[in-house]
Amino acid sequence: MQRSTSLRPQLSRRRFLARAGGIGLTGLLGASAWEAMAATLVELPMVNGQRELVTDFPQKGAMLLQRTRPPLLETPFEVFDQGVFTPNDRFYVRWHLANIPTSIDPATFRLNIRGHVQQPVALTLDELVREFKPFEIAAVNQCSGNSRGFFSPRVAGGQWANGAMGNALWKGVRLKDVLDRAGVKAGAVQVRFSGLDTGLLPQTPNFMKSLAIDHARDGEVMIAYAMNGEPLPLVNGFPLRLVVPGWYATYWVKMLDNIEVLDKPDDNFWTTKAYLIPDTPFANVQPGQQGVKMIPINRMLPRSFFTNVREGAVLKAGQGTTVRGIAFGGDTGVAKVLFTSDAGGRWQEARLGPDQGKYGFRQWEVPLRLSSPGPHKLMIKAVNTAGNAQPDHPNWNGAGFMRNVIESVSVQAS
């Protein structure tokens, strides 16, 4: 694919030039003002959108800091222009609970399968690798709240731009095969997953998520021990992470060490009270709307993005260039990606890059020549193989989940 240097992403970035003492920031940052002086700041296009680009998280490159503890790290968007697989050291990070083990010894680590099974099993990592058939799948991991910072009206939560997502080639074993080793008993209804992280307070509910037994045994849900050919970075879930292709990342439990087969529906906090969405198309409601049935978040929606042109970019009128980006179908593959350069007047089909698996990112590109000088609105829309398209208007809900509106950028031709 041809690379166009004229459209390299322009980060709104400036060196932070506070002088020794950092007077204006000491109140806000306290002791870290000194460290912040060397930091690169990035303005995300939202109110209160200033973020530090940090490099001090282990096994990670430069990431946008949403929260230090427990870590919330966003992938800078220009990373998505580099290819469909997101490098491990730039893959976003999202933890709920701050007690995260910082040392994992594979010699003593065990994956426990228990509950409504014939015989409980505790597997070592070597047993997982040696005794089960390996399985590999490309899949997008996207935070339920990706793009929450663009909700209008704004809602509380992690204030992500569009970088709380990533695509990796996950390698490991099928969950089904591991469940079969323990022997699921008749009457099983759900499987519950938890990892090594815990809350700071004993009364904080442990992070646990559940899937229906048939979903857990569908042959696609898997336990990954490698990500893009390497062990997972610790903050992405080393040594094992649940992979639930097509579903939001809340189910992709990190540092997975506990699999519990349930013979009655899970009633834990994280399943019944958190991560609920309105049971409406696109989980969309009006602000303040009452009496809506709420259900657990589940399948992802289609999305597409520009990766080599940004809001406010200036293009040469009359000169040809290539606009490109990425798309994914959500819970199924991408059927087509549609592009318009006249605010939706006329849509044309973008050329799609190689298919690396229906749950992964797919690159798209279109040749573009803006003949008339002045403002132009470029828009991009993915349609998945189930026929579902991104909506014209932003979906909204109070938790800030599942944003998937058509993306647009306004550019200037001169």
Binding site: M1, G27, L28, G30, S32, E35, V47, N48, R51, F57, P58, Q59, L65, Q66, R67, T68, R69, P70, L72, A98, S103, I104, D105, P106, L125, R130, P134, F135, E136, A138, G149, P153, V155, Q159, K171, L200, L201, T204, P205, A226, P231, L234, P239, T250, F269, A274, Y275, L276, P287, G288, Q290, G333, A335, G353, P354, D355, Q356, G357, K358, G398
Partner: protein, 144 residues
């Protein structure tokens, strides 16, 4: 399968796999679903497991001074760093109150009920906005 046949299969499989790899790597608008092919090709060297020890950076950020800053520093920082609060959009008094009560009721923050109002007013002071005249808060107060 005889040894000969196995050899033949191997010899044939290599160019076929190469062909598949080339086709996938070069052909734009490829087949719509290659998940099965990817899964079938899963193999590679056995994973070597090494012990992993890392250090997570600490946050030294504190809340800006004001009436209620001591409560924020004493309570909010038990479970998360201050940046989470400071990077929120400006919220109304009702919305901040909702967030505080979520932390108390869902996550067990040991904040006495009679300090909720002081903390909420403090948060509005450092990162707030006027109550919308149009009624209910936009935030639904989930634990996520």
């Amino acid at each position: 399968m005889s040894t000969n046949l196995r050899n033949v299969t191997l010899i044939c499989a290599v160019p076929i796999l190469l062909g598949v790899a080339l086709a996938t790597g070069l052909a734009w608008s490829g087949t719509p679903d290659s998940t099965a092919a990817v899964a079938a090709a899963a193999s590679g060297p056995v994973q070597k497991w090494a012990k992993v020890s890392v250090e997570l950076p600490a946050s030294h950020a504190a809340f800006p001074p004001g009436n209620g800053a001591d409560i924020a520093n004493g309570q909010c920082l038990i479970c998360h760093s201050a940046g989470m609060v400071l990077r929120q959009p400006p919220l109304t008094l009702d919305e901040w109150t909702g967030e505080i009560n979520k932390m108390r009721n869902s996550f067990g923050a040991p904040l006495p009920a009679d300090q909720v109002g002081v903390l909420a007013r403090y948060l509005v002071g450092i990162n707030g906005r006027q109550q919308s005249p149009k009624g209910p808060a936009a935030v639904d107060g989930q634990g996520s």
